[in-house]
């Protein structure tokens, strides 16, 4: 039954008998470090927004385990089509946090050249595909990439992420259907954090789980404890080897909870009681993993300080750098709409640059994002 929730770590951090994935001590400590870094990154992002230094941020607090566990279960050549709540996934795939900060500052050094809102990353080097805001559109795209891998006879997989809200989107339906029909090497990974902004899971669907939706497409659906990095790691490894062996896609539902607001513009106290949040506080994925490491004698205060302070110092410095970089030049706004700039667009550019030079522009950089 897909409603069984797979787990490796018990709430107290103890390992269920014989379920531990094959990971070295170093990898385990790396997992922890990445989770701590993820939380620090989110804190930094929220802080920068509160300080008015960036316009918007969107945190993933409480969802660190699934991001890191998942990332470490993939191969470097695998492609990812992430949703917007995945900073830890990017970090665990090896993205330099400084590059992420450039993006949220929208500065001249940003890979997206300041064109997208904060957290809409694109990292070619890590096969981390440019994020867009419309929910669900990237799901069939991941299938297409996976079809291309299969077409070329490669052994890579594509993974794509969506929230519980995202399961209602058109992209979810067509993506899973196409993925199954073509037996594409793709993993559909749902962060079921129970909320889509203010809409709770029960109002999103009457299905007993997200995982059971796999039945509609004739593919396996698994449910996993999303606050358990090792369980997520194992589920993604499994799904990956199915895909790599020509067995087609898998739908993974990772159960978790959005501990923070939807974004820097959201006030969750308007729609959800504190008690629920407190309950989930107890299931904190980082604390649980620390217990686990402690049990294995892989954790001590020194390591903790290294993780915590290391992250903070790194991010503090990188944010300062990112802030200094400044905005992209006005003419860059006209580049990259097409490979070559069409003559008419070049005229538009020249006109604007002329006005800017002669000081005739009056628009001000103001306003910040309310959502």
């Amino acid at each position: 039954m897909p409603t069984d929730v797979q787990s490796v770590l018990q709430p107290d951090g103890k390992v269920k008998n014989g379920m531990l994935p094959d990971l070295t001590d170093d990898r385990l400590r790396e997992m922890y470090r990445l989770m701590v870094l993820t939380r620090a990154f989110d804190d930094r992002g929220m802080n920068l927004q509160r300080q008015g230094r960036i316009g918007f941020y969107l945190p993933s607090r409480g969802e660190e385990a699934l991001q890191v566990g998942c990332a470490l279960a993939l191969e470097p050549d695998d492609w990812s089509f992430p949703s917007y709540r995945m900073p830890g996934f990017a970090l665990a795939r090896g993205v330099d946090p400084a590059m992420m900060l450039n993006q949220i500052f929208g500065n001249a050094a940003d890979t997206c050249r300041g064109r997208q809102m904060p957290v809409h990353y694109s990292f070619r080097e890590q096969n981390f595909v440019s994020i867009s805001s419309p929910i669900g559109t990237h799901i069939p795209q991941a299938v297409g990439a996976a079809m291309a891998m299969k077409y070329r006879g490669e052994k890579s997989v594509a993974i794509t992420f969506m929230g519980d809200g995202g399961t209602s989107s058109d992209g979810f339906h067509v993506g899973l259907n196409f993925g199954a029909v073509y037996e594409a090497p793709v993993i559909f990974f749902c962060n079921n954090n129970q909320w889509a902004i203010s809409v709770p899971f029960e109002k999103q669907t009457r299905a007993e789980s997200v995982a059971i939706k796999a039945k509609a497409y004739g593919m396996p659906g698994v449910r996993v404890d999303g606050n358990d990095a090792l369980a997520v790691y194992a589920a993604v490894k499994d799904a990956g080897s199915r895909a790599r062996n020509g067995k087609g896609p898998t739908l993974i539902e990772a159960l978790t909870f959005r501990m923070g607001p939807h974004s820097s513009s959201d006030d969750p106290s308007r729609y959800r009681p504190d008690e629920v949040v407190e309950q989930w506080q107890k299931k904190d994925p980082i604390l649980r993993f620390r217990e686990f490491l402690t049990g294995k004698n892989l954790w001590d205060e020194e390591f903790e300080t290294e993780c915590q302070e290391g992250s903070k110092a790194l991010l503090y410095a990188a944010a300062k750098e990112a802030e200094k970089a400044g905005p992209p030049a006005v003419e860059t706004m006209f580049e990259g709409v097409y490979r070559e700039i069409p003559p008419e667009l070049a005229l538009q550019r020249d006109g604007l640059v002329g006005l800017a030079k002669s000081g005739q522009l009056t628009g001000k950089d103001e306003g910040y994002f309310p959502l």
Binding site: R115, M117, P134, D170, S198, Q360
Partner: protein, 325 residues
């Protein structure tokens, strides 16, 4: 009579309609308990119950599709699309269905409904929280399209739209939800007719034709032009469809010079239609080229949004151009 922002006027109109007409229901993502991400529906679920005001799953095609079904059956749904940029999953429902039901069924089935959506830039929303895609819908017979620019108009136009027997896309320029001004907004039910433009500033030398948030930028430009002794008439379309062609032609006949200002990408924007109408029906009075000041033909950018959006400086530059032609 209380003073209100545009956002307050939206809320006031919705409350007025819910109280008056049991056929009215409001649906959309987050419109319920939290009152909408912009708070346009704040307090409405608490006052009118979840039966009248309810959250939906995350699927715009479902929101508009079910709203169409309700409208066919006789309710008067007011679906909210959280940002106009997210209407595309419902594009088929809007253009193939809502717009064509009356026509294709020979009038047997109609779907009067008001799709509300915040539109336009100015809030640092990047590609997907900033677009002004009114031109797509203006090219779709069967739809009406309204874009208010003042609080009192907002309430009156929204109530007109709710009374209307055809589907109306009610586009709210989110950038001026709170800003620019508050003004007195009458209590209770009143309407401002669809399809009537408004002269926001009288002038004799040049007409600036605009709609949505850009009207306020045009007024700013008009003020600056005044300093140079150029008298600018600012026409606020208010409705994109039906279009007040008479008002467009009248201002052109008054001034003989035209600047059209809009936020959307220049090419194929609704400003092109305004220019085409003038070039077809009033060319003999034109004393200068018809200038367009618009967004550029690029996706809507984030960091440089204040350079992308037409500002008073750019409009003034165009005014100078047509005046000195």
């Amino acid at each position: 009579m209380a003073t209100s922002t545009i956002l307050g006027a939206v809320n006031d109109a919705l409350k007025t309609a819910l109280a008056k007409d049991d056929r009215v229901v409001i649906l959309g993502e987050d419109v319920g308990k939290t009152g909408g991400v912009f708070r346009a529906t704040d307090g409405l679920q608490a006052e009118f119950s979840e039966r009248r005001v309810f959250d939906t799953p995350l699927a715009e095609g479902g929101i508009i599709g079910t709203a169409i079904g309700m409208a066919l059956y006789g309710l008067r749904p007011i679906p909210e699309i959280q940002f106009l940029d997210f209407i595309y999953p419902a594009f088929d429902q809007v253009v193939s269905e809502a717009a064509k039901f009356r026509y294709r069924s020979g009038g047997e089935y109609t779907c009067p409904m008001v799709i509300r959506a915040p539109c336009g830039g100015g809030i640092k929303g990047g590609h997907y929280h900033s677009q002004s895609s009114e031109a797509y819908f203006a090219h779709t017979p069967g739809l009406k399209i309204v874009m208010p620019t003042t609080p009192a108009d907002t309430k009156g136009l929204l109530l007109s739209a709710i009374e209307d027997e055809d589907p109306v896309l009610f586009l709210e320029p989110k950038r001026i939800y709170h800003k620019k001004f508050k003004e007195e907004v009458p209590d209770g039910w009143y309407t401002v007719p669809l399809g009537k433009a408004a002269v926001r500033n009288e002038g004799t030398d040049v007409s600036v034709i605009s709609w949505g948030a850009m009207v306020h930028v045009a007024l700013e430009a008009a003020k600056k032009a005044r300093e140079k002794d150029i008298s600018v008439e600012v026409l606020d379309l208010r409705s994109i469809s039906p279009l007040d062609v008479a008002a467009v032609l009248e201002t052109v006949r008054n001034t003989g010079r035209v600047v059209i200002a809009y936020e959307a990408p220049r090419t194929g924007g609704f400003g092109a239609e305004i220019a085409a109408i003038i070039a077809e029906r009033a060319i003999e009075v034109l004393e200068a080229p018809i200038a367009r000041v618009a967004g550029f033909d690029t996706p809507f950018p984030y960091t440089l949004e204040h350079v992308y959006l037409p500002d008073a400086g750019r409009i003034l530059n165009a005014i100078d151009h047509v005046v000195n032609f």
